[in-house]
């Protein structure tokens, strides 16, 4: 499918000399991005594939972290007002080489990079779906989040949804003097729908079996397979309602006997238009929305988004970086989140393996303890909405008071430091030991996991896999080390990696990561004690001044690298709304190799392979 991704020897160059090298090699095709607040280079789209190959092979920026489109409608020049932004990193660690390709928005076309980085596959399909950019050379260019036949490309700036009110919040209808109508009332159908003027109702009643698979490009004739008894090939539809797909995810599998031939992931069943809504929202509005991306690790999402916006805010006036205590608390929460998430995902992996709910219930018990802490600190168990620009929402209170902790109508509360200390130095390590004792050497688990769903390291990099999926394949890439943020540089922890790149490795990587998180947490406790009383609120957390520019903030979330690409465009004071707001979702991109990993596996293994990737649909579909 792709040529060799990891060439023999590459000298990793720093970003500046890499850019100089590119300009030297492609003098006519590469130029600096000179816009205010922007970085990287602009590449002539006709040369894009060559330049990308050079970036990957000659410069060693072989990990394509993110590829996304921006619509500069009314802002840019008419012949180049849509662009693709690529962030490439060296897999050995270091900063990003940002390169962009521009195209006119009335006929947007940019060559596909799938042959250079197969990880661009889904991201280009997303850009096609939501922005309408076509990618010549893409093997399978079709909509990914919306359905085939949907009207228009919703992330374009001039595309308006049925409940459209204004471009930016706060809507004037909501101000004190405004008259608020429910959005339904303004719509003729009383619903969130809008149809084109020349709408042909006559060809809508297709409820046949084939229509279910129409537009998937399976390359199989469903009718033929169903109509004949002579072949063993079979199309199996799993999901979107299926207990093992971890949400509303759908896979259409072609089977040869019991062996998987092709697997076509179908997503978008939870596409909640996070990015469109995010571009209408103010910067602050978006914080609680990020909770709902990966709803198991809301604190981590908050942090990633805050980092992206803070990068921009730091360029403007009146910016104070977060206090040391705020950083400690952020890391504390991020690591607790990692444990929460891994407990859940391992529990569900075992569920998929057939250990129906027993390990899950034990893991969940421990998770609930941490949620109690979250509730005491942030006020909510799941959707914490805790991090603010330049700090956090509030300090850890003296006593943890969790309403969920009700015993005989009495809410118990705990001394927060004592609670935390006991949790990280006794309760959780003990639990992990016990858990591992029962599970890690279990014969069934080993038989079903070892050498199943293997992803070799070079392919893992090429597919832009992230998190335990990447590390399970033996690549020690962790944003906390490779491109450190917050106070991670001063903390002492290891990065667990696997050897074979199979399901079992991903399982052990998660277990060991939890142990590493506990190690980090134990280092944080004395820092918490030492910084008692320091202020944790950001200086202008609620009225962020965000100057013009772009930024890409990324964190190592439990599921992998979570990135936020934010473009701010506005007057000198800085606007309250991002122009472009894109989420590089690890759950989404990690699904790219799913078909590859399931190929020639047994059908029963596909749920375990999926479980070992650990997706959450809120983030996959956004």
């Amino acid at each position: 499918m792709t040529d060799q991704v990891l060439p023999e020897k590459v000298e990793t160059t720093d970003v500046d000399s890499a850019i100089a090298y590119l300009k030297d090699k492609f003098p006519s095709a590469v130029s600096d991005d000179t816009r205010d607040g922007y970085s990287g280079v602009i590449v002539d789209k006709n040369k894009l594939v060559d330049v990308a190959r050079a970036i990957r092979d000659e410069l060693g920026y072989n990990y394509l972290s993110s590829a996304t489109a921006v619509d500069y409608h009314t802002l840019g020049e008419p012949d180049s007002d849509m662009e693709m932004v690529y962030h490439a990193y060296p897999i050995t660690g270091g900063g990003a080489l940002v390169f962009k390709a521009q195209t006119p928005r009335d006929n947007p076309e940019i060559p596909s990079l799938v042959n250079v980085w197969p990880g661009a596959d889904f991201q280009e399909r997303e850009a096609y779906d939501l922005m309408g950019i076509r990618f010549p050379g893409h093997p399978n260019l079709k909509r990914i989040l919306m359905w085939e036949g949907f009207l228009g490309h919703p992330l374009r700036k001039d595309w308006k949804e049925a409940y459209y009110e204004e471009d930016h919040k706060p809507f004037s209808s909501r101000w004190p003097s405004g008259n608020v109508w429910r959005a339904e009332e303004k719509n003729a159908y009383g619903k969130n729908v809008r149809y084109p003027d020349d709408f042909d109702l006559s060809r809508l009643n297709d409820v046949s079996e084939e229509s279910l698979y129409e537009g998937l490009g399976l390359g199989v004739d469903v009718q033929a397979i169903e109509g004949t008894m002579h072949t063993d090939r079979l199309v199996v539809n799993m999901g979107p309602h299926h207990p093992s797909t971890h949400g509303v995810f759908r896979m259409v599998i072609t089977l040869d006997g019991e062996t998987i031939d092709t697997l076509e992931p179908v997503m978008g069943y939870l596409h909640r238009n996070h990015e469109k809504i995010g571009e209408r929202n103010t910067y602050l509005h978006n914080m609680p929305f990020t909770d709902r991306l990966d709803y198991l690790s809301s604190m981590g999402n908050n942090l990633g988004y805050a980092l992206a916006v803070e990068q921009l805010m730091a360029l403007g006036p009146r910016w104070n970086p977060p206090s040391y205590r705020a950083e400690v608390i952020r890391v504390l929460m991020a690591e607790l989140t990692r444990i929460v998430n891994h407990l859940w995902s391992i529990g569900f992996l075992l569920n998929d393996l057939g250990a129906f709910f027993t390990p899950m219930l034990y893991a969940n018990n421990e998770r609930e303890k941490i949620l109690d802490f979250f509730e005491g600190v942030a006020g909510s168990r799941l959707m914490c909405n805790y991090v603010r620009f330049g700090g956090v929402f509030q300090d850890i209170p003296e006593r943890i008071h969790s309403v969920q902790n009700m015993v005989n109508d009495r809410v118990r509360d705990f001394d927060s430091m004592k609670f935390l200390t006991e949790l990280v130095s006794e309760r959780l390590p003990r639990f992990l030991d016990e858990y591992e004792y029962y599970l890690s050497e279990n014969e069934i688990i080993k038989a079903r996991c070892i050498n199943v769903g293997v992803l070799p390291p070079d392919e893992a990099v090429g597919y832009s896999a992230a998190g335990p999926l990447l590390r399970g394949s033996g690549i020690p890439y962790d944003v906390r080390r490779a491109d450190p943020y917050s106070i991670y540089p001063e903390l002492d922890f290891d990065i667990p990696v696997g050897e074979r790149g199979d399901i079992y490795d991903r399982y052990t990587v998660r277990i060991r990561e939890m142990r590493e998180s506990l190690r980090i947490l134990r280092q944080l406790l004395p820092r918490l004690e030492a910084t008692k009383g320091e202020s944790v609120a950001g200086t202008n957390a609620h009225t962020p001044r965000v100057p013009v520019g772009e930024s890409y903030g990324r964190v190592e979330n439990p599921k992998g690298e979570l990135g936020f690409y934010v473009v701010s465009a506005g007057d000198a004071k800085g606007t309250q709304n991002p122009w472009r707001y894109h989420v590089r979702a690890p759950s989404f991109i990690n699904l790219t190799p799913l078909g590859r990993m399931s190929h020639k596996q047994k059908v029963a293994d596909v749920v375990t392979v999926l479980g070992s990737i650990d997706i959450v649909l809120g983030e996959t579909d956004r």
Binding site: G149, Y163, A188, F199, L382
Partner: protein
């Protein structure tokens, strides 16, 4: 199964010797039937979004909704009584949801869990979001929250049990599934250029005609907002009174007429009843 508490079932004025209360219960069929139904509500194992995490949390050992009879979650709609719509309903997903609902056997109940399922929630304005599952399916209980805490979900489930307790076998409105013939399936929405509710075909056609005439499609003109303005009380009104009386006379006559008519109607109605 919840413990059989005979005292709970015992409901009639029929005299029963005190010492037999623990052994014999005399009850109505409705009550026995509702009691057994509501004590074994099997939810559909079906999670949509973030709220599903709290639903699983509620099912897990700490909150444990099997205490209330939601013993098993079934992955197939054919064995479940209750659909907990736990999360954001997108246009793409509402098609399978309606399908699943149609596949559930009667009696079936729907619970909208969380802000999203109840009315669109934080994502309401999104182009792929349905503003509440009640646009497509009849909802029995709404549980507010984003996400609702396990307690809130438990409260919703208990509320549903109360609702079931109130249903009477004697009233076909309460238990329509005992009526004649199979119940009508909910029409399955179609994914066109936007989601299409087959029940709205006529409206869509009408709107298409309007569009052909060059009138804006989709938007409906809103009536002017009635703005409350308190009437200024003025002392000078005394002068105006003279004029107003003239107008009032006509008005009063009209009002009187209306009243008479209404009275006549009421009398006729009463007469027909007795």
């Amino acid at each position: 199964m919840a413990d059989l508490n005979l005292n709970e079932l015992h409901d009639t004025e029929f005299p029963l010797p005190e010492q037999m209360h623990g052994n014999v219960a005399i009850t109505s069929l409705s009550k026995l039937y509702n009691w057994s139904r509501r004590s074994s509500m099997w939810p559909l194992l079906f999670g949509l979004a973030c709220c599903a995490i709290e639903m699983i949390g509620t099912a897990a050992s700490r909150f444990d909704f099997s205490r209330f009879g939601m013993e098993v979650m079934r992955a197939t709609p054919r064995q479940s009584d209750l659909m907990i719509v736990s999360g954001t309903v997108t246009k793409k997903m509402v098609v399978p949801i309606v399908r699943l609902y149609n596949q559930m056997p009667e009696p079936k109940y729907v619970m909208a869990m969380g802000a999203c399922a109840s009315g669109g929630g934080p994502f309401k304005e999104g182009y792929n979001v349905v503003s509440g599952i009640d646009k497509y399916l009849p909802v029995d209980v709404y549980v507010p929250g984003c996400p609702p805490t396990p307690q809130a979900l438990l409260h919703g489930l208990i509320t549903l049990q109360k609702k079931i307790d109130g249903q009477s076998l004697a009233n076909l409105d309460d238990v329509p599934w005992y009526g004649v013939g199979p119940s009508e399936p909910t029409p399955i929405p179609i994914l066109g250029p936007d989601i299409i509710d087959p029940r709205q075909m006529d409206t869509i056609r009408r709107q298409a005609e309007l569009a052909a005439l060059g009138q804006p499609i989709g938007l409906r003109a809103l009536p002017d907002v009635p703005v409350y303005k308190p009437k200024p009380k003025k002392a000078v009104a005394a002068a105006a009174v003279v004029e107003e009386v003239v107008v009032d006379e006509e008005d009063a006559a009209r009002v009187m007429e209306l009243r008479q008519a209404a009275l006549a109607r009421k009398r006729a109605y009463d007469a027909s009843k007795s």
